[in-house]
Amino acid sequence: MKQISQYVLILVLLLSPVFIMAQDTNLGLTLTDKNDLKISVGARLSVDGALYLQDYTPLKSGASVSDARIRLSIVQGKWDAYYDVDFGKGILTQKNAFVRYNFSDKNSLRMGYGPEPFSISYNTSQSDLHFISRSTPVNVLAPGRALGVSFKHAGSKLFGEAGLFTENLYNNQAAGDQGFAASGRFLFRPVQNDDRSIHFGVIGRYSKIGTGYVEGNPEIFVRNMHLGSSLETNVDKSVHFIGTDVKWASEEIKYGMEFLAVSGKTFVQGEFIGSHIVRDRPDQLLFENQLGGYWSWTTLKSWLNGNPSLTALNFYGGYVEFGYLLKGSSYRYDKKNALLTRLMDNNALELVGRYSFTTLNDITEGDVFWKGQNRFFPESGITDYPPVSTSIAGGIVQTITVGANYDFTPNTRLMLHYTHTLIDNYYFEDDNAGTLQMRLQYRF
């Protein structure tokens, strides 16, 4: 087992909130609020401790500042702007940066950098999440933030948000044009009142992939997509127990559904996300580039025998999570964004739980995996060449999380969670990994 000092560290972190309980309970500080102009600043600090209970993983137990944000928001008339940066882990990272025009209370247009309207979990702020980390399927399959424009309608029965986004923020792909994505979240809200809110709906995203790298001589631009995630933790994210690179990825269609039910002291939320990735390889160009050597394939047909056509890939995952308030008033539903929000009570105590499932395996029937070389071979067996298997095996991960959150004030909370991860990955020993985590979070 790990050193005793790690338990001491956890203990120190457990006790530390006692010293900061007497903090301000306001959520943000308003600098000015006159002449139709309101400027506010806010901040958030999350300190995480994690104890990885298995020594056979390379993960390092410890503690870190996983999140340290400063935000600025400006509201003037029908316009508002939002900007925040993070310097957690000692790295300055751009987070949200957008302006928004509010046609009405229900309709708005957002322009800038922010989360794509796709996953309810990803669109929920870390301040409002009831878990220390988002679930694995969201970490693996949700698109994250992007630069673009989106329109939102938040009606009483119908909610919809859709937009067009660029693939990478700074147009710094290795070659070629920037990729783009169109994504949307469309919900039906049959129940929406002060006591109870229910929504469910579909999510979708199409992306044209433009990122990748250059390889070979002469150089060829390889479109590539990486999917993967560490355990559900922020302290050591160094190992992707689930993950894969998809070479020659050209297009992706994400699809899914979500639901959220909030009722008094209970909430239940869930999502399913699927990913269909189309691969497009420049066979003729690759064939021509390898000509001229003694061992070269001499015809395109023979080259294709050694490099069989790539099929589309299908990955998917989902989760369901719940919360129950042991102490506190009630959970709250954010009608404007169709999200669950944080608790706003002093001395609130909740129990939470989550199950998630993610698979990044798309294995051709009959292919065999040989651990000796950590790769797949076709049904005909293990051989030197050609490596004709096109199977992708990023792994299957299931997680079960249980935890307790204590909100000293709406600003300060302590979270203690245990996550049990079932890893089924050809590239790792199949095993269970236990993670005991604690978070101290302060936000205003």
Binding site: L53, Y56, Y324, L326, K371, Q373, T383, L436
Partner: protein, 432 residues
Amino acid sequence: MTRKASLFCALIGALVISSCERDNFADETQDYKNVKVLQLSPELTAIRNYVPENAVFAHRGSTFWVPEETEAAFRWARNIGADYIEADLQITKDGVILALHDYELKRTSDIENIFPDREFLPASSFTYEELMQLDAGTWFNDARPEQARASFSTQKQYISTLEDMIMIAQGMRIKRDPITQERIYSKVTNADGTVKYTFEYEPDPMDNGHRPGIYIETKEPWVNPGIEAALYTELDRLGWNILTQPEPNNNQFYTDTDGSQKVNVGNTNGKVILQTFSLESLRLLNGIFAGKVPTCFLLWLGNGPTDMPNDDPRTYAEFINFGIENNAVFMGPSIAGAPNKYPELLKPWQSELMHKSGVAIHAYSFDTREQMGQYYGEYFYNNTGSNIPNRPLVDGMFTNRAEMTLNFYKEKGVRPIGAAGTALEVLINLGY
């Protein structure tokens, strides 16, 4: 609320406890005990025992004393008393199986003078008649001036064939024209375009009676397509295919017929050992020879298509298992140390893992007395504090210094015969 909280805590506790059940280590000297390796069957164990323990394999004849894989190298290896003459196999464009290591001919011949436009082409793109134009001996005198001998040039050394190798193992030598000193052969082109060479041999007047076996390596099938099947046929033609022409089971590895002990492996069912690094070639050899001929699966640490990518216990065990599944009874790991500085694949725990499965270990390549002592277990440099037994890590050595290895094993009392003289004495005796 208290009851719910208690249940919740109990759930967390149960999950935490269940996750602590496993207790793995990151110490390979312990981990190797936990990985599973297949066991040699009694039938395969019998095949393994066709080959003597602590055998000496003259690597390419010798790379130290003579131009490798030439007539001079094979004659020297036979007469020094090696148990096996070792060589790599390739096949010419017209179907002659060669004993040749490099794909190209540039390092070990004068191809730049004879075929200047083709010096970077592989041997398999030449006919054997073309290859006979090359001098495979003179380069050695330039590359190794301390071991240079004029006779390696004046007695032309050819790119050898498998047939040369077998005939020399049987006490013959290449028959040469007495005037030109060129080898004597005839060639017939059949109606279907195939070519048949007939090479002539004669009893070697300097043969000292040792009868070694041959230890022959096939390379990746895409380099020499069809060589495994061709090898079966060629061994059959030359009377060295024990599937069709088995030797009596009571033939001994060493004989003492005329008052001096001689190597007799070449007259036993262990006369041929097949070896390969190639996964595909191992499968093909298994399919063709049905696991009845002793076979060695060679190991190399690297990123190539045949290589072992990591030398952790799990990966190592997978390679052992692949070998056994394909009826290999020997594993051939590389060893560290100058001058080759190969990757170390014969750590004490790796030796234990292989021995646990029942395979014997034929490691490559030995060049120094220090290496022989180290892997024989004179000292265990890397075994301090572990529970791995101190015993020889290796059961047979591919050696470039066969004279040294023979005497080493003789001194250890594990083989009856040492070297038949010094390396130079044997060379001089052979007329080099």
